[in-house]
């Protein structure tokens, strides 16, 4: 348990660390800007990387919400996102327009995530970390099987949400798709921020995640808050799946598996308990993957996942709390 005194000390330490991290990030952004001005290819890769990174970031945000609420890493988060994308595909097949299906899918994902927490995660939550992880691994295999069973393993295509228009800005061609992906993710993230910052529900969820015992004492329904947290994570995952689909050009059951690894790397880089860190980590991973594959000859596109793995290992060894996370304090 973290006492008020230790957390205050931690807060001070983090307060000192954040400016350094911000300076580094600003330097990186400046570097990207200079590179983009000098080379059109570099600019294109950066824009594409930001759009893909936004998708990694929103899935990482889902992982972080689950981790903050229940201290569980949900290995099924990516498969859940994939499954909800298939639900959207089915709704479109039944005649809904893309954005109607989008909205309906988010609602379904919210309910699905909440129900999963209540039925499958709740019973094992207080047993051990390993038990909860094994349940999410079981869920991974189960969802994969169900989707393959219902829709088959072959490629499906969905209508493009943003059209195929390409803008030309000074020799750099930017697909409207990438701008759309980026904007949708940022809107989703902003709405989550508003929810947590300005609503009573969000306050309750934060209280339940960070100080469950105290929250229960002042009348917060902690168990409900945790379940809604899972639902919200599933909703964000659905956004990630729906935005990932057009960038891969088709829908298949393995859609989210590599993206889950990148999202893990993003969440670890940003700090597993920091929502803002998850998004920034996602953007950083997206851009650096794109640039590294293009400009570092030793790392070809086959090595993208191993690169993300190397990022995870490096962050955990050098700065286990990530860029914005809180250091874990354990009292004996």
């Amino acid at each position: 348990m973290v006492t008020a005194a230790t957390s205050r000390i931690e807060g001070l330490r983090n307060g000192a660390a954040v400016p350094v991290v911000s300076l580094v990030l600003i330097a990186c952004a400046a570097g990207l800007l200079v590179g983009s001005l000098r080379s059109a290819t570099f600019a294109q890769l950066t824009v594409q990387g930001l759009a893909l990174g936004a998708v990694y970031g929103i899935l990482a945000l889902a992982l972080v919400l689950v981790y903050r609420a229940t201290r569980v890493i949900n290995f099924a988060q990516g498969e859940l996102a994939m499954a909800t994308t298939y639900i959207a595909y089915q709704l479109i097949q039944w005649g809904l327009s893309y954005w109607e299906a989008f909205a309906a899918t988010l609602a379904i994902a919210l309910v699905l995530g909440t129900v999963l927490e209540l039925t499958l995660i709740r019973p094992v939550l207080h047993r051990s970390a390993i038990a909860a992880v094994i349940v999410t691994v079981g869920l991974f295999v189960l969802i994969d099987g169900i989707v393959n069973w219902i829709w088959g393993g072959d490629f499906k295509s969905m209508p493009s949400p943003f059209g195929t228009k390409i803008y030309h800005v000074g020799g750099v061609s930017i697909s409207r798709l990438y701008i759309g992906m980026f904007v949708v993710v940022i809107i989703a993230a902003l709405l989550v921020w508003v929810l947590f910052r300005f609503t009573k529900l969000g306050l309750g969820m934060r209280a339940a995640a960070l100080r469950p015992a105290e929250a229960a004492l002042v009348g917060v329904r902690v168990d409900w808050m945790l379940a809604v947290g899972w639902g919200l994570a599933a909703l964000l995952g659905a956004v990630a799946g729906l935005m990932a689909e057009p960038s891969q050009f088709f829908l298949e059951p393995t859609l989210m598996q590599p993206i889950l690894v990148y999202a893990f790397a993003a969440a670890v880089l940003g700090g597993l308990d920091s929502p803002a860190g998850a998004l920034i980590g996602g953007l950083a991973i997206g851009v650096s993957l794109n640039l590294v594959v293009q400009y570092v000859p030793a790392i070809s596109s086959e090595l993208q996942e191993p690169f993300a793995f190397a990022v995870i290992i490096a962050v955990l060894l050098l700065k286990p709390s990530g860029l914005f996370g809180h250091r874990e304090v354990r009292r004996v």
């Binding site: 893990f264 993300a308 286990p320």
Partner: protein
């Protein structure tokens, strides 16, 4: 004393049945039971790490891949005796597991699960990068193939040897240290147990077991090692096998290995689970059910039955 006799009797029964079995069943079924033996080794190895030492690994498929490729490459390039390649796989995977255990010293629970999962995703991609040596997507073929009976005998002989080895390791000082680390790291350190030594040792042993299982896995696959054979689902299956097995019971590990090894081979004439992806549904549903209803796996179920019988 009575417990020990019972354990010896059940061991003798299992050994006896396994000796007679190949004379009674068809060649195809021999290959299936050999497959169970392969998963027996992998699940046993993971049980040492997760069950006894409390360190989770979702990455044992990666060690199986390393062991499998060791066998395939040695056999292709040097025509090495296949049993010798299994020993080499054991040694290499011990070292690799030891090295993976080093970062694991600073990690626990959720973080360790993350790192091992990323390992499971990453390792099978390496052959694609170094394709001239490791065969790329086309894989590596051993210089010759083995019969189902050979595989059966070697797999279960290896299982027996590794089972005895595990028993020897776990019954004494090392096993006590492992359990102490699992139950409370702080209490273990306070009792003079050196965490770095025992955690990395557990990782090394566990990975070495997975390496041998990987060698046999490649041989069972007609001597063919390819990245797709070692996809992340394999790692998940081994973890599921260990969850079904529960802790510290021969019967539990047998049940876990049989569950993982036989389910994909269930004849397609069986409705639902016979279909290609119905199996995944059954896998996932079964492991969730086991975790909810039988938190200690098959071993826990046996213990509960035994208590009921005594009462």
């Amino acid at each position: 004393m009575r417990g020990r006799i019972a354990a010896l009797v059940s061991l003798a029964v299992v050994a006896g049945v396994l000796c007679v079995l190949p004379f009674l069943i068809s060649d195809y079924n021999v290959s299936l039971v050999a497959r169970v033996g392969i998963f027996f080794i992998a699940v046993l190895g993971l049980d040492i790490l997760t069950g006894y030492t409390g360190q989770i690994s979702i990455g044992h498929g990666a060690f199986m891949a390393i062991g499998g490729y060791t066998t395939a490459v040695l056999s292709r390039d040097h025509d090495t005796n296949l049993v010798v390649t299994m020993l080499v796989a054991f040694a290499i995977c011990f070292v690799v597991g030891f090295l993976v255990g080093l970062p694991a010293l600073r990690l626990s629970g959720a973080y360790l699960a993350l790192v091992t999962f990323a390992l499971a995703v990453s390792v099978p991609l390496l052959p694609l990068k170094w394709s001239s040596f490791l065969g790329g997507r086309d894989g590596v073929q051993t210089s010759h193939e083995v019969s189902n009976l050979w595989l059966y005998v070697v797999a279960w002989a290896a299982s027996a040897i590794l089972f005895v080895l595990a028993w020897l390791i776990l019954r004494g000082r090392v096993g006590r240290a492992f359990r102490a680390v699992r139950d409370s790291e702080i209490a273990a350190v306070a009792s003079g147990i050196e965490l770095p030594v025992y955690k990395t040792l557990a990782f090394g042993i566990s990975a070495a077991y997975a390496g041998v299982a990987g060698s046999l896995f490649v041989l069972a696959n007609n001597g063919f090692a390819a990245p797709d054979e070692f996809a992340v689902v394999l790692s998940l299956q081994i973890l599921i096998g260990a969850a079904v097995a529960g802790l510290g019971s021969l019967w539990g590990v047998l049940a876990g290995a049989a569950f993982v090894g036989l389910l994909p081979s269930v004849s397609s004439s069986v409705p639902v689970i016979g279909s290609a992806h119905g199996q995944d549904v059954v896998f996932g549903a079964a492991v969730i059910l086991v975790m909810l209803v039988l938190p200690d796996g098959f071993a826990g179920l046996l213990a509960r039955i035994r208590r009921l019988a005594r009462a």
